[in-house]
């Protein structure tokens, strides 16, 4: 007769005190392709179990010396990690004893007369259970290992992320921020950095989804943000770049709601871009009221680079104004009854004591009160910016010697034709170049200001022929930029040439910047008499207000020489630096 199961031979312990019964079981087990180990009582069974470590145990209930129930308890005590099925051999039929057997750890019963088919089926079934258990244990170990691995990876990722995210200026005491611990790896991201023009940008993002997909997106967002802010790119350029990156990386349906601000207190203006985020608020100290800024854009990552349109808002800004922004977690925070904190409550709180310095803590306190002990405390991010002049960052290491391979004596000429003027911003490229020059690198923030002034003058007044008088009033401020945009879009002809030349001096160096525009030029003679501005030829008469408006005061305070070449469309400045200058 051919045996039915032949997967792998199991060791089967048979504990049965009746010799003929034992013989029958032994034969069945052998015939089924397994290996029998026999014992005549419970004590022998326990010994044999320890010695042979069988896969299955057959235990007679009533045996001399030690009964099956007691033996089962001992055996069960020794097999906590693995499953060794125990089948009780019995002619018992009363329920109470069956219960006792199950409680002692029995998995099944076999009644007399012993039947080969029945026993084989039971062994097969229990082996299956045993295999399942083994698989389960193995999988559990694998999962545990994976989980440990994942936690390790997340720790590394978190460290990496923290390094990127906190490399900016979040530590400035004018920025107050609260991010619940859950928020950080649940997709809320906050980055802030000071640009070379002395402006500061802050971006609060809220990725859809939770966990890894969200965390993955925040890395390129943060590194792009920091890289570009530091190089002086505009907010729109930065957001366009981040949008493209996220659009490429994130699966369709995943995106990042964000509010981004660019604060420039020197220019007294705030730029806000918001996509998919709750309203943010600007507290105006002059009116003791809030200006509400609504999201006007699609979240980042939704549109392709081609489709991406960026609508930013410009607002005048004064010292001591306060800017508030948050992710939807704060509005949607629920209490135990599932009621949301809500816009209404937030507004009331803000209106009660407008602009109070304690408002930030109060908002967070109230939200936490609202949540109470309900388990929902995730993704809460609140940011407040107290608009103040940004403290000067500690200067880079001054004692650093000029290193080989760095730029020392050089010249650079950059020509921008009509088609490049509308969208392209040449300043990041030039600042990048300047950052390669020891001595200038540490002064790149100052030089950015100089270049920005010169370039803006050349473009706005020279090429586009705009009058700076417009900017004198708040309404004109907006009109000026609308006009600039309109004229840029319609520009037929115009160009700007930027020439830089750097010479090393024994104790420092000198950078000459010359900007030539295609405009008609402007009058500078009125200024000549009272300043160190040199002219190479006499110019026409004109108004000095216009002159002032063009930021020459600022340039004068920074540069060592300003020369305006006729007909007034070419400005040349010299910037001299000394190695032991105090920056």
């Amino acid at each position: 007769m051919v045996t039915t199961v032949k997967n792998s031979a199991l060791t089967v312990l048979i504990a049965e005190d009746s010799a003929p019964d034992r013989l029958i079981l032994e034969s069945i087990v052998k015939k089924s392709g397994h290996i029998p180990v026999v014992a005549a009582d419970g004590a022998q069974a326990v010994q044999a179990f320890e010695k042979h470590l069988p896969d299955i145990v057959l235990l007679d209930v009533l045996m001399p010396v030690m009964g099956g129930v007691e033996a089962a308890k001992i055996i069960r005590g020794q097999t906590q990690d693995t499953i060794v099925p125990i089948i009780f051999l019995t002619s018992l039929s009363d329920d109470e004893s069956l219960v006792e057997c199950i409680e002692a750890g029995g998995d099944d019963f076999l009644t007399k007369p012993y039947n080969r088919v029945v026993l084989e089926s039971k062994i097969k079934a229990l082996t299956r259970v045993r295999e399942m258990h083994k698989t389960m244990v193995r999988q559990k170990q694998t999962i545990e290992l994976h989980n440990q691995h994942l936690i390790r990876e997340q720790t590394v990722a978190k460290q990496l992320y923290d390094k990127i995210a906190h490399s900016g200026c979040l530590d400035l005491n004018i920025i107050k921020y609260y991010m619940s611990p859950q928020a950080v790896f649940n997709g809320d991201v906050l980055v802030a950095e000071v640009g070379p023009a002395g402006n500061m940008m802050i971006l609060l993002g809220d990725f859809t989804g939770h966990g890894l997909p969200a965390a993955i997106g925040s890395m390129p967002l943060a590194s792009t943000f920091y890289g570009m802010v530091r190089k002086g790119f505009s907010m729109l350029d930065i957001l366009t770049e981040i949008n493209s990156k996220l659009h490429d990386i994130l699966p369709i349906g995943f995106f990042c709601c964000a509010t981004c601000i660019d604060v420039n207190l020197d220019k007294r203006r705030l730029k806000v871009w918001s996509g998919g985020m709750p309203d943010s608020m600007l507290y105006k100290v002059s009116t003791n009221s809030y200006e509400i800024i609504k999201a006007k854009n699609l979240p980042l990552g939704v549109l392709s680079e081609k489709e991406f349109k960026c609508q930013e808002m410009r607002l005048p800004l004064e010292p001591c104004d306060r800017f508030f922004m948050w992710s939807d977690g704060i509005v949607e925070a629920r209490n135990e009854d599932g009621e949301m904190f809500g816009d209404e409550r937030l507004r009331r709180l803000l209106e009660r004591r407008p602009g109070s310095p304690g408002l930030f803590d109060e908002i967070i306190g109230q939200v936490h009160n609202h949540i109470g002990t309900s388990d929902k405390d995730d993704d809460i991010s609140v940011i407040e910016l107290d608009v103040q002049h940004i403290p000067k960052r500690p200067a880079a290491d001054e004692t650093k010697k000029i290193q080989e391979g760095h730029l020392q004596d050089w010249a650079f000429s950059f020509y921008l034709a009509t088609t490049s003027l509308e969208k392209y911003d040449p300043l990041p490229l030039i600042i990048n170049l300047i950052n390669d020059v020891p001595g200038l690198k540490e002064r790149s923030s100052t030089l950015y200001t100089v270049l920005a002034e010169l370039y803006a003058n050349a473009l706005e007044h020279g090429v586009l022929g705009l009058s700076s008088e417009l900017k004198a009033t708040p309404s004109g401020f907006a009109e000026f930029y609308d006009l600039k945009h309109a004229r840029l879009s319609a520009l037929d002809e115009g160009n700007i040439e930027i020439d830089l030349q750097h010479k090393l001096h024994p104790d420092g160096g000198e950078l000459t910047i010359r900007i030539l525009d295609s405009g008609a030029g402007f009058d500078f003679t009125a200024r000549e008499a009272e300043s160190k501005v040199e002219t190479t030829s006499p110019g026409q008469s004109g108004d000095s207000l216009n002159f002032h408006g063009r930021g020459f005061d600022l340039l004068e305070s920074i540069c060592d020489r300003i020369v305006v070449h006729p007909p007034g469309n070419c400005v040349e400045v010299a910037f001299v630096w000394k190695r032991d200058d105090v920056l």
Partner: protein, 120 residues
């Protein structure tokens, strides 16, 4: 009671012969020896009113009988085990006699089965 009626499941026994093959004889011998030993223990315990031993051995004998198809003998053992467990000694003598007679008859048939394997 010379005309002993008993029930022996010959189909089951043939199944055992097939299963045990050359060990079948050993099984029959073991059954006879083990049963005889148990019956002797019961025979000693009944007059001594040692019902624990009676119960235990009757239980063991019952099991072996069921395994070898000796169903009527198993039924008498079950009766004896239950009586002993209940502390009822009134029928012990008669039950013992019935067990001894049936066992003798069954043992004889089993011997025949060993001698003439294909007699039926």
């Amino acid at each position: 009671m010379s005309d002993i009626s008993y029930d022996l499941d010959l189909t089951l026994i043939e199944g055992l012969r097939e299963l045990l093959e050359d060990k079948f004889a050993e099984l029959i011998e073991t059954f006879k020896t083990d049963s005889a030993r148990r019956i002797a223990l019961i025979a000693r315990a009944v007059p001594a009113q040692d019902l624990d031993v009676v119960s235990q051995e009757a239980h063991g004998l019952k099991g072996s009988c069921r395994n070898l198809g000796a169903n009527s003998l198993a039924a008498i053992c079950d009766q004896m085990e239950q009586d002993a467990n209940a502390g009822d000694a009134s029928q012990m003598e008669q039950l013992l006699t019935a067990i001894e007679q049936q066992f003798a008859a069954i043992a004889a048939v089993m011997d025949d089965l060993l001698e003439y394997p294909n007699s039926d």
